[in-house]
Amino acid sequence: MVSACACLLLAALARPVTAQSLPTGPITTAGGRLTIGGEASASVSPSDEYYFDYSDYNYNLLRQVRADAAAVLRLGDRLALLGDIRVEGPVGEGPWTLRPYALFARIRPWPRRAFDVQAGLIPPVFGAFSRRAYGPYNPLIGFPLAYQYLTSLRPDALPASADDLLRMRGRGWLTRYPVGSLTADHGVPLVDGLHYQTGVEVHAGNNDPIEVSAALTAGSLSAPRVSGAGSGAQVSGRFSYRPVPSLVLGLSGARGVFLSRSVTDVLGAAAQQASNDQRALGFDAEYSHGHWLVRTEGVLSSWRIPALAAPFIDGPLRAFGIDVEGRYRIRPGLYAALRVDHLGFSRVAGSAGELPWDAPVRRIEAGGGYSLQRNILLKVAYQYNRRDSSYTRTSGLVSAQLLFWF
């Protein structure tokens, strides 16, 4: 017997199911040799009048539009060419830029072994955040302070004395010094997570408990350079250990020439022979299980610059940034995230007393993301910043970001 009820029940259960209309993965062509992926995002927030979220691009990371296309061209088992072109610009403030972000060759001398060499405009090996700065890998919209906040140091301009340096405390977005470039310009973060560097990198390991990377590049962590001509070299490395799938521990180190030739050329011979470098040590850890993901990363950076006039800048200028970040997936397509961040500085003695050479900063960012589609993500976050300068500055910023990737 056929039951009409059963058919009616089925009528209720049956419904059209719509396939996703946007690409969910990269485009592959040329017989599988060329793969192209892309990402586009738009971030909006109120004006950041205290410049907490300005980047080395000199615009607010919470108010930007960005699109990039990344491609890998595989030329056999041993060689691949990788490139990334980006268009980005601030929302409603100034011009947009188009530039190659990465362009390098990946060489695998022994195809069966997890060892390769990358040469060209390559990604930084230091730390963990710079490889997940964008897209769905950053659960929030802002960046950790160590990778974004502009200190008052500049590679193209130099404070002659401790007073010159202390005068610029908390003004990293626009500093001016008497040596080198006299034009007011922005300072540098501890680690520039937004630029790649020209150089060579070797890497061993692939989803193995231990992975090791080392690189020789131009510039330094805070001031990477595309052109190696006339600038010093940087040696950097990273060691990661994964004792269990849920835990990754990383250690990083880097040492590179900080000041640019435009500054050292105007110094006397003695000053030219003085120390001029940035050294950094970093640690990172990631633990995940079930719907939880927790990360922490710390960067200790020191810059040694020539002491030119009294009161002298004694010893290296140190900064330490640390953040702890957590994400919890509440339900399919919806998560909440939180990051707590601190950036501190060593003290320098000036005419008026001893102070941290730049103003310490604290940041808390809380927010979440909702997947409108598998590869369309809407993020909303609230960020609280506090800068301990002679006139304490705080700001609370609400931001939103719409992100599409394939």
Partner: protein, 226 residues
Amino acid sequence: MRRQLALLVPGVLLLLIGGARDSPGAAPAAATVRGRVEIRNPVASPEPRPGIGDLGVDPAYQPMDRRRAVVYLETAPQPAFEEGGEMRATMRQEHETFVPHVLAIRVGTVVDFPNADPFFHNVFSLSKTRPFDLGRYARGHSKAIRFDEPGIVRVFCDIHSHMSAFILVFAHRFFAVTDDQGRYRIDRVPPGTYTMTAWYEGVSQQSRTFTVLDEGGTVDVDFSLR
């Protein structure tokens, strides 16, 4: 490409057919429906996103043969909906792929998702039919989901964006996934006139009508999908 796929459309026609079979007398013979689905333009296995920021080698990803279609009856005799029992299926995570890539199950089936890779996966779906998020778990562990509604469930991994799979949930048993030669076979189809659909990756589908006679036997229904 926007496509709409109605997995199950109840058959008013089957009311008539089934009603005819309800009369006393010898039970009509059931037929085997078989055939081949030709896929003219197979969907390429998605490659991982270009790992620009990666420090080293490509992931241990193994592309899969994606020339598997699902063939099913748009309408089915009522007894087909009453057949039940404990149903279980498996979709593994292996070499950064879901195995099988296409899984066809009945409503009420519990699907296990064991992780066979030496690293984490995070299986999830945003489909309206059955949204779920299994979280991260390691090799040797498995989580299960029961599918109680008919429809299409697109499955992804939150960590490896190139991993995807389909689960097609049917309210009856008259469906099959093609083999590596594109062949399929559906047994015990009662006499009647049916519409059969071949579905492929959500990008192509085709329907054909056929009749199973009272004497049963074998019915061949072939498809050619663009």
